[in-house]
């Protein structure tokens, strides 16, 4: 057990944990941030995606010790007002079905748009294939990303 300082959604939080404890469970069970979801535990589904210093990571296999003193953004902290361009297009296009995968989808998409504001279809596919949607909302996810990118480019 050791103490770790994490900067989560802009706030400094201190946790007592096994250094190997995946960040996923630190966020969910120790810090109560349940927007980051468990789906597979082996970096296969993307439901547990957050940003570490603005790069997307799969928290289910990411030890808390490797995130110490760094900045973590979860779906709860993506936008203080819930108005990230992707959250807006996600609402407009009524993307979710069961909704369970959607936080991870949005986090992966947000990281994509940050590094590549005008992605091609192939770029979107490449960035999003790590995120499974069991309900099959892929077409709306893609459309919502494209709409947000278009609006970003128009500004």
């Amino acid at each position: 057990m050791a103490q770790f300082k994490l900067i989560v959604n802009g706030e400094t939080r201190t946790v007592e944990a096994d250094p190997n404890m995946p960040l996923l469970w630190v966020l969910r069970d120790l810090l109560g941030l349940t927007g980051t979801k468990y789906g597979c535990g082996m970096s296969q589904c993307g439901t547990c995606t957050v940003h570490l210093n603005s790069a997307p990571i799969r928290t289910c296999m990411f030890p808390v010790s490797a995130a110490a003193n760094q900045s973590i953004t979860t779906i709860e902290g993506l936008s203080p007002t819930g108005d990230h361009p992707l959250q807006v297009t996600w609402r407009e296009m009524d993307v979710p079905q069961c909704g369970y995968c959607q936080g991870g989808q949005i986090m992966s998409a947000a990281a994509l748009l940050q590094s590549n504001p005008e992605p091609t279809d192939e770029d979107i596919d490449a960035a999003m294939t790590g995120n499974i949607c069991r309900c099959g909302t892929y077409l709306r996810i893609k459309a919502a990303i494209k709409l947000a990118a278009q609006r970003g480019a128009a500004q």
Binding site: C40, C45, D94, C98, G99, Q102, R134, C135, Y138, L139
Partner: protein, 706 residues
């Protein structure tokens, strides 16, 4: 359909109550009609419509949302008849009076169909009360009043009052004896696009699911199932598990072990540290053994006739030609994105259950048996569900939570690691299908015989599928093989594979006869329509309608260069869906470019939701058929997580174009019916592209290089 006046002879559905804070409060009961008590005296509403003096319209109910959008669709139906401004509508989860609020079974596409009329009547009754209140105030005839957007107007005098202003007075009037329902052509809300109620919470991560539950003193529980199907629990050595920091207790009951800890990670580590002796299963199960057993059963067994029209054996004996083919499908887990989990708090005199359960009544009954407490002491609370696909109709995971909480003496939230779901059974059953078709000397299809073998009692078959009704001698038999592997309904049960098999074999027959696939189907449907053989449960004209529509949409027969088309149509859950898939196969690699979908599901409620359901069903249907496999080797599931259990991903998904036929039929669901024809259309397109007939699922187990 013209405006219909409904006598509220089913008065048992409606009841006026006193609303806290004033206004109009109308209680009603939805769900299957048979759950409505015959005597109004014993009637208890399970949902409430409240119109507050502020003008807000609230719908209160306990309604589990699993992703099919019923939480938004149901209020839309009420709102249509009420002439409400959709912006005023608030949907609230009811408090935990489960006895009053519970729907019997929150399953499947049936939900909308059974509830449509009730919801319309509830909305129309509330509207009638508001109109009556306005008319009384103005001293005019109710018939001279109009309603729109939450306002009652009296056009001759130009007066108007909002629903909020009328709510108090309306709440004191007697219920109308009869109400007039709108004509479908006057619908202004139904059939439009309305966004899902919970979407704002989902996109910010606020939405809670069962797995997110945490209460004071609660422990997280990691469940261990037998690693091989049919094994029994022997001894448990939990010494190492209890040394894991955070692990509090290890409990077990027949054939399950649960490690309880202060956080999920410790529970998982503790689970991995268990040393368990398992007693061997009576038969060490495997896909190979079952395939053989299925083949033997079909070859030797008599089977149970699930359908028999004419005399198939004699017809086949006398046939000019017999075409036959054998198809095989694998086990399939459900893999909902939210892993299996359940919360239980078992106390000496009460139990609270909370989580993603779809059959709360069964859960309560089971809990009563397990604890000895009467059902009245057991409360249930349904969370939003992260996908189910049939898995959560079962209650095995409820038992896990109840046992763990009972044995540990604390509230628990149990979770199955993803691997446990794949290991733990409750699969769509594997099955073998042997088809024979008899052709007479004039080249007509005169006999259709399907013999299937599987491990469920009634078989993995749908004996009533088309071409039933179009063939004079028609028989479907099931041969049961016993297995320790457990099964569960899988989205669009049995239809999900049978559509593909029936529609594929039908094409095999068509090709053998030199018939064009669409023309062959239409010819058979004409037969079923004008002069059906035996009883049929579908309307051939509606199936023909979707086929003709999709052929138009896809420009059937003229695929874009380099692409090949396949077609399929299927009737299930009272809806009719036809699809055309466009594929190409390059060096054995399949690409599905586009799927056209024509659906007749009666009145569309929420166009946005309906479209989402169709896309989801098509993608799921194609994904499961393309990649879905669960081989059983040496007693155990060979695929244990998403690295080997492949699900379809974004780059593999086709473009989809959906059209809903305008019909006057009441709504029938879409969560399931769009799925079955998808794999059939793709399989038929693969044949068109390669000449390879898919007879074994998944697609990727076949060599498409030809």
């Amino acid at each position: 359909m013209s405006a219909e006046s409904t006598q509220l002879n089913r008065r048992a559905f409606l009841k006026l109550s006193t609303a806290v804070g004033g206004g109009l409060m109308l209680g009603f009961r939805w769900g299957a009609a048979e759950v409505v008590p015959a005597k109004p005296a014993t009637f208890k509403p399970n949902a409430f419509l409240r119109i507050a003096p502020s003008g807000s319209v609230t719908l209160l109910n306990q309604n589990p949302e699993i992703g099919q959008g019923i939480k938004t669709a149901f209020p839309m139906i009420i709102g249509e008849e009420l002439d409400v401004d959709w912006a005023d509508v608030v949907i609230e989860q009811a408090p935990l009076d489960t006895e009053a609020y519970e729907r019997q079974v929150a399953a499947g596409s049936g939900a909308i169909r059974t509830t449509y009329q009730t919801l319309r009547e509830a909305g129309a009754s509330a509207r009638a009360l508001l109109v009556a209140a306005a008319a009384q105030q103005w001293g005019v005839a109710p018939q001279s009043c109009r309603t729109a957007k939450s306002v009652v107007t009296h056009p001759p005098s130009g007066r108007s009052l909002t629903y909020g202003e009328l709510a108090d007075a309306a709440g004191k009037l007697p219920l109308p004896r009869s109400v007039t329902l709108k004509s479908t052509k006057d619908f202004s809300l139904l059939g439009t696009r309305v966004r899902g109620t919970d979407v704002p919470k989902i996109v910010t991560g606020e939405q809670r699911y069962g797995i997110d539950t945490k209460t004071p003193g609660m422990l997280y529980g990691a469940i261990t199932n037998p690693p091989e199907h049919g094994q029994k629990l022997g001894s448990v050595d939990d010494t190492a598990a209890l040394k894991v920091p955070g692990v509090v207790k290890v409990v077990s009951w027949p054939d399950k072990v649960c490690v309880l800890a202060t956080h999920t990670y410790a529970a998982f580590l503790g689970k991995d540290a268990l040393k368990i002796e398992w007693e061997a299963a009576a038969v060490r199960e495997s896909t190979a053994r079952l395939s053989q057993a299925f083949a033997d059963a079909i070859a030797n067994g008599s089977g149970e006739h699930r359908r028999r029209v004419g005399n198939v054996e004699r017809a086949l004996d006398g046939a000019d030609r017999v075409i036959e083919a054998t198809y095989e499908v694998p086990f399939l887990p459900h893999a909902p994105m939210e892993p299996i989990n359940m919360y239980a708090d078992v106390k000496a005199d009460s139990v609270h259950l909370l989580g993603p359960m779809q059959t709360p009544a069964n859960a309560r009954q089971l809990t009563s048996q397990l604890t000895g407490l009467p059902e009245t002491k057991i409360t249930t609370e349904m969370t939003r569900i992260g996908g189910g696909f049939g898995r959560r109709l079962k209650t095995d995971f409820v038992e896990d939570a109840v046992q763990a909480s009972r044995l540990a003496g604390t509230p628990v939230n149990i979770v199955w690691k993803r691997e446990e779901e794949m290991i733990g059974g409750n699969f769509r059953p594997a099955a073998l299908y042997h088809y024979r078709a008899g052709i007479d000397s004039q080249g007509r299809l005169i006999a259709w015989h399907l013999k299937s073998a599987s491990i469920t009692g009634r078989g993995a078959i749908v004996p009533t599928n088309f071409p039933n009704g179009a063939v004079p001698h028609f028989q479907v038999d099931n041969h049961r093989v016993r297995s320790a592997i457990t099964t569960a309904a899988w989205r669009s049960p049995n239809h999900n594979v049978c559509a593909m098999l029936d529609q594929s074999f039908l094409e095999e027959v068509g090709y053998a006869l030199g018939k064009e696939p669409l023309a062959f189907r239409l010819e058979l449907l004409r037969q079923a329509e004008t002069d059906p053989y035996g009883n049929i449960n579908y309307e051939p004209a509606r199936l023909r309608g979707v086929l003709e529509e999709v052929a138009k949409m896809a420009d059937w027969g003229n695929p874009p260069a380099g692409r090949f088309q396949g077609i399929a149509a299927h009737y299930s859950h009272h809806s009719y869906v036809a699809q055309v898939a466009e594929v190409s196969v390059t060096e054995g690699n399949l690409e599905v470019h586009k799927v056209y979908c024509a659906a007749d599901c009666g009145q569309v409620i929420n166009l946005s939701g309906a479209e989402n359901q169709c896309q989801g069903g098509i993608i799921d249907g194609i994904g499961a058929a393309w990649f879905g496999d669960m081989p059983i080797v040496d007693g155990a599931s060979a695929n244990t997580n998403f690295h080997t259990y492949r699900l379809i991903r974004m780059n593999e998904v086709p473009e989809i174009e959906t059209k809903f036929l305008k019909t006057d039929y009441p709504p029938t669901g879409l969560g399931e019916p769009a799925l079955p024809p998808a794999s059939a259309a793709v399989a038929n397109a693969i044949f068109a592209a390669t000449g390879v007939r898919i007879r074994k699922l998944p697609f990727n187990a076949n060599d498409l290089a030809g």
